[in-house]
Structures are given as C-alpha cells and as structure tokens.
Symmetry: C2
Subunit: 441 residues, 2 copies
C-alpha cells in the first residue's frame, strides 16, 4: 500500500481542480459539509467514527513523485495542475463532531473550510473513512447496548477487507466493544486483543483430549476451550476433567445458543465448574445478543455483523459544498435544488438540546457563510457539538493515535447516556430525536 | 499503514502456533481449504476475486522488528514462538480457482498446504481478501450482466473504507466493469479511470452557464456535463447551447431515471444533439440497471451497491483444516462434526462439467490427504478448476499485478459464457448448477 493517501481520490475531483485553476475559481473560499440525509436502516441514532484517523490521513495527503508521475502520464491533469499539486498541503480549517459523538439526519458531522482547490480534492478520502467507520460504530453501539455489562469482542476481520478490518476494530471499540481479535488493531490503536483457539486446533490433534491438554499446558487453566468440534456435552466433560473446576471458560460456536448455553451452564455447575465462563460466537448480531440477555452467557464475540454494519455497510454521508465566496468576497449559501436530493445551503452550527440530561432535539443553526454567532451561551440547555480540529492546516493531535481512540470511547460512553429511552430500542424507527433547522437572521 | 501484512491476523492463530510449537504438532503437514458453505443472498453463482493481490500479501507476510516487539511486549506469544516468527516465510503449496472463476457451494476456491505452523497463521489474511473482493466481484458480475454492452463505471470509493475501495475497483473491473473513478486503482492495478464534475463544480460558479463554459474550455466539447443541479431541462438546454450538438455527454444523478432519461433524450434529439450520450449515476444496483435496459441510457455509474456487495458485503468463505498428517505420516481427513456447520474433510479436486459448452454441475472429488488421482482426462467433458499458484513458497507471479488483473478479467468473461441461462437471472434462487461430491475410493 502506497504511503501517500493522495490518490484515494475520485478522478473528477482533480478534473474540477484542473478546470478551476484555469478559470480562476480555484481560490474561492468554500465551506464543504459532511452530513447524512437520513439514518439508513431505520436506525435511531448514528455514531461518528473515523475522525481521528482521517485527520492523520489528511496530514499525509501529499502528492509525491510517484503520484504526480501517474497523473502526468495518464493525462489526468495538465502541467499547471501538476505544479499546484506538487506543493499541495491542506491549509484550511476543519471542525466537526467529536469522534464517538451521536449524529442524526442533517447533523454537520464535519465542516471543511478552505479554497475550492484545497477542499474539493479531499472529498473521497473524507467520505471513505467516515462512512465506513461510522457504519461500523453505529452497529457496534447497538450491540453494546444489547450486551449490557457483558464483555463484547470484535472478531470479524475475516469478513472485511484487510485494512478496513483494522478500522472496524477501532470503530467497534470506540462504540463500546471491549476487545478485538485483530492484532494490527492492537498494535496501531492500542485496543486490547483476545483469542484462544479455533476448530483447527482440535482437528490437528489425534483427539480432542490431546488438543485441550496441549492448550491448557501452554496457556494455563484460565484459558477458554472451544468445546463444540465434535459433541458439546462430551467436550465440556473432557474440558473440566482435564482443567478441573477452575477452568477459565468454554466457547460455543454453533447450535441454538440459548438452548446450548443453558445446557452447558447446567453441566458446568454439575461438574463444580461454577466459575467457568461461557463465551458465545456464532453469527451474532444485536438481535441475537438481545435474545441471549436472559441466558447464562458471560461474553460475546461478534464477527460478520459488526464489520459489515449489520445490514448498513456504509453510513451514506455526503460531502457537499454549502457556501462559497463570490468574486466580491461575500458569502453565498449554495445547494443542489433537485427534488430528491436537496440539501440546505449555508454554514451550520449544531447543538444538542437537553432536558434534565436527556436529549430532546438536534438544533442546527443555519447562517450564510460567515462564522455563526450562535453560541452555547444562547442555548443554556444545549451542548455545542462542533470542535475545531484543524486551523491553518495544523491538525490538533489530540484527536489522533491511541489517545484519540480512548478519548472517543470515553466521549461516546458519556453522550450515549443522553439518549432518551426510545433511542435504545433496536427495532426500525424514526431518529430518537428530531433535527430542527433554525435560520439565523 | 504498516508495510508488513503479518499482523492482519487474529490473535488465536498465534496462540495456537504457540501451543503447537510446545506440543510438537506444529510440524504436522496440513491442508487448509477455503470454501463457502452457501451462496449468500440467493445468488446463482459467485465470482472468485482477490487471489492475485492475496498472493502478493502472502509474500509480504513477514514479521519484522516492529511486529515482533509488539508480540513480545504484549505477551501474545513466548520467546520460542518469537524465534519461529522471526524466520517465518511461507514455504508450502497454494492451489486454487483462477481469479475471475465462478464458484458454487463447496467449491475449493483455495487450498493451502504446509505445516500447521505456517498455514494456520494465514487464515485471517486469506479470508479478508477473498471474502471482500469476491463479494464485490459477485455483485459486479450481476450488474455487468444487467448492463449488457453499455459501459459500466465503478464510482463507490466514498462508500467503502479507503483501502477496500481500491480493492473493490479492482474486483469490479475483473467482473466486467469498464472503468473506475478511483485514481489509486488506476495507478496500482492499471484500471481505466473516469470522471468529470460534481455538483460542487456548478455550485462554485455564479451560475450554471459559467460552470459549463469553464468545463468545456478545460476539457473540450467531448466532456460530460452534470445537468441536474438546478433544473434538468434548463441544464440540458444550456449545455447544448454552449457546447453545440457535438456535446459528448450529460450526466443525470437524481430523479426517476427511466422518465428523466427519456425526456432528456427527446430534448437532446430535438436540439440536434443526437450523438450526445446520457450517463446515469443515481443509486444504481443490478435491478435498477436492468430496469433501464429499454431506456435511452448510454452508460452507467455505480457507487454504493457495488462496493458493498449489493446486500451481501462479504462472501462468507471459511478457511478450514480438511486433512492433516498423523504422527506416523499418514493423512487423516478431518472436519468439524457439529450439525449446523459441518463440512467435508479430505483434499478436494474440482471440475466444472460441461454439456456443449454449458456448465451442468460442479464435481468435487474428495480424497484423503494424498494428491488426488482424479484428472480432467477422466472427465473429458469437464474443465479442471484448480491451478497451482505457489510451490515451496514461491509464488507464480503471473497472478499478480496489472497482468494478473487483465488475465482474471479475461478469464471471467470466458467462464461466464458457460453459465446456463438460468444462471443469468437476478432474482434469488438456488445455485445455477449443483455441487456434487464424489468420493475417491
């Protein structure tokens, strides 16, 4: 994978840049806004994720010799544009919702302000990161709500592209998962990693007993044994016979889990292994987790459904020009006018209005392009949702790296507490709170 | 993104390696097989994709100082295992379906043979790549069938993780797409790139006419103008007035496309722009494309649906130990026995049986672990599906890079011709041909 993020870009962005450098509009100051028109899949809230790693990718968004050679050889842009790109570095301002924050239809999740030239070419990278990571985080938050206090591990790397898998582990952790199986996510983002053995481990050995014994020798009695390769009842019996009643845990990866979990719990208790934990991992999603709430399950492992957004694999956010300066330097709010994809022009300032700590609405104040004067002071029961993340192109490092991940995870836990009870339900519905636009006179 | 692919690995693989190095089973020769138990989403066929880039990633699967330090510091494996990983290089054999090949339930898409130690740790990387890319390719093939001879461009990068977007463009191209908007896919994989302008281009300007004029000046009359920012009828009129009847194309990104396309075609013809092409790009999937077959549309651009597998975002393939040597060196076929996830142990050799050039079944010959004697010679109307891709760890470079992509695309076009007519339909159904297991005595 190349080191530069600069070609994670749709060709039309460079084509527009090329044309804008010719006709003199490249330097017009612009405000691009990231928002979702709706919450896909009847979700009651969305979770913003990806911001921290996006900011780092924007810092790396530089056109080196290899990138420029490709653009030149393929005649994608002309020589004047090559010169511009050679010196390219984003110098504008970025503000947005903190990573881990909830969002609703129309929430101005990220605002990028700069010249048309410098801002238009970030569209694809911005959306790739935020749409993927937010889709995963939104699904993960629902699973985390369903799991309650039980530990919840992400183990879906094999069901996602190899790099997206790392980002998915990160997004799931921010939204409440407790660990991941993905080692790269552990290294890059400091997320706790977990995992013991697959069916291949048992099948490698001449019998299940050999496999369990070898695992116990290597990892100690506190390990988790996978007991469903052949016959679960026999597997549990062998496990406790070898490990003793202090066996750490057993894992179940098949069968009707409520039934099997109850049977295994009864068997473990009978054998005196009352402290042995039961982890379940078979094709779980938020609904299956919720259905296991009354079952004697101690931990969940989730694969496919979390990394694919549990039916909503992309958040569907868009990156739209909402205001620009005209030739005289005044701001002009702009928006597409077609009926089925219309959006609101103008700069947005967003607040979550609270009543005794519970969110009641998303207020989105619309101004022309000038800095909105709307402040949290004028909305005493409201929380301002946007923070500045870059100014003059300098990115606030607090959002990046492992510290950024921990901050986002903490922020998500706090703001999720603000959701009204109806926001916690898993069924399809309208958003938990309405989005209300207020025009600033 | 780190250069080594070695930590795109689930922790349990290294835990098993650790335990296997202790108990002496690490050196047992094993056969791991990649297959899908079913075709998710009622698909009639699957398309294998990702193989070429997977082989390169396996070559790069090495544990450098940084990777080893992480594993040591986090106490994921012991010192003995660190020593093993320091020298790790896959030395086994890989065979499998050519990239672009069709697959069906049980098809042995990839077979990895080596010691348990060297093969078990590739599981996550193998599945991440094949599951993602095959899901995209399968959806893309259905769209390509629906589009017929009309050009079909992939433009969904913004709806996929930034690296998966590049892989998705590659997979879509292999399965019949003609171009991509993603520049990194153009650079890395040699895929033709396309794209002209977004709504932001029109909104940047003081009026639509200014925007069109600037684009025509920069890109010439043959460019494609996006005409639906304000009013489509007015947009088309402006476009032809400025460009003349030789205008290359117009793009429509909203509205009821069959209706709008017919109106725009009539208007263009009225204006004398009879050769001006109409490209449509609004939330298309295979069904929407099929519904436009009778409409005057010249080209399609597809975003979200292709990069997310059009409802099936992962192919759901698994990587299972199917045979291993015992302590005496004999082969033992192995398989998990639980009821809902059972699979067939033993080495598989697969053939597509044809009748007058049309596929009639997938024959999967099952042997114990020894090289199957089943050959295509004994199946004169059958095509052998597996080719050797690595031996002694040396990867056949023919599958890699841009040449590998072109070969895969060509292969896909050829084998798709073998599908029976019922395999081309888009509705949910059983697989187009049955998978038949034959036990080799």
């Amino acid at each position: 994978m190349p080191a530069s993020s600069a070609l994670h870009t749709d060709r039309y962005e460079l084509t527009m840049l090329d044309a804008a450098l010719r006709d003199g509009t490249a330097d017009r100051r612009c405000i691009f806004e990231v928002f979702g028109r709706r919450l896909s899949g009847g979700r009651r809230f969305g979770v913003v994720a990806g911001t921290g790693r996006l900011l780092s990718l924007i810092r790396d968004f530089r056109f080196g010799h290899e990138e420029l050679r490709f653009l030149r050889d393929e005649h994608i842009v002309d020589a004047h544009t090559i010169d511009y790109l050679e010196d390219y570095r984003f110098t504008g301002t970025i503000s947005g919702y903190r990573e881990g924050e909830l969002y609703f239809p129309g929430s101005p999740v990220l605002t990028v302000e700069g010249t048309f030239a410098e801002a238009v070419i970030l569209e694809t990278l911005v959306l790739s990161v935020l749409n993927h990571d937010s889709a995963v985080a939104t699904a993960a938050a629902r699973m985390s709500i369903a799991a309650g206090d039980r530990p919840l591990a992400e183990m879906g790397s094999r069901r996602a592209g190899e790099s997206s898998a790392v980002a998915a582990a990160r997004a799931a952790y921010i939204a409440g998962f407790t660990a991941t199986s993905n080692l790269e996510a552990g290294r890059t983002w400091g997320i706790p990693t977990m995992g013991t053995a697959a069916h291949a481990w048992t099948l490698l050995h001449d019998c299940e007993e050999d496999a369990f014994r070898a695992q116990l020798d290597a990892l100690g009695t506190d390990t988790t044994l996978l007991v469903d390769t052949y016959d679960i009842r026999h597997g549990v019996e062998t496990a406790v016979r070898l490990a003793g009643p202090r066996l750490g845990g057993v894992r179940l990866d098949s069968g009707d889990l409520p039934t099997v979990a109850a049977e295994v719990r009864a068997q473990l208790d009978e054998l005196g292994a009352t402290g042995t934990r039961i982890t379940v991992t078979s094709d779980l999603d938020e609904f299956a987790i919720a259905a296991l709430a009354a079952s004697p399950v101690d931990a969940y492992g989730v694969g496919t459904s979390v990394v694919t957004g549990s039916g909503v694999p992309t958040a569907g956010m868009v990156y739209k020009l909402v205001a620009r300066q005209d030739a005289a330097g005044g701001w002009v709010p702009v928006a597409k006018a077609s009926t089925d994809k219309s959006s609101r022009g103008g700069r947005k300032t967003a607040f979550r209005v609270l009543d005794a700590g519970t969110a009641t609405r998303e207020t989105i104040v619309v101004s022309d392009g000038f800095d909105a004067v709307a402040t949290a002071d004028e909305h005493p029961d409201a929380r301002a949702l946007q923070v500045e993340m870059a100014r003059g192109g300098d990115i606030d490092a607090a959002h990046e790296g492992t510290a950024g991940v921990e901050a986002a995870r903490g922020h998500h836990q706090r703001v999720r507490e603000e959701l009204p009870v109806r926001g916690l339900a898993l069924s399809k519905s309208d958003p938990a709170i309405p989005s209300v636009y207020v025009d600033l006179e």
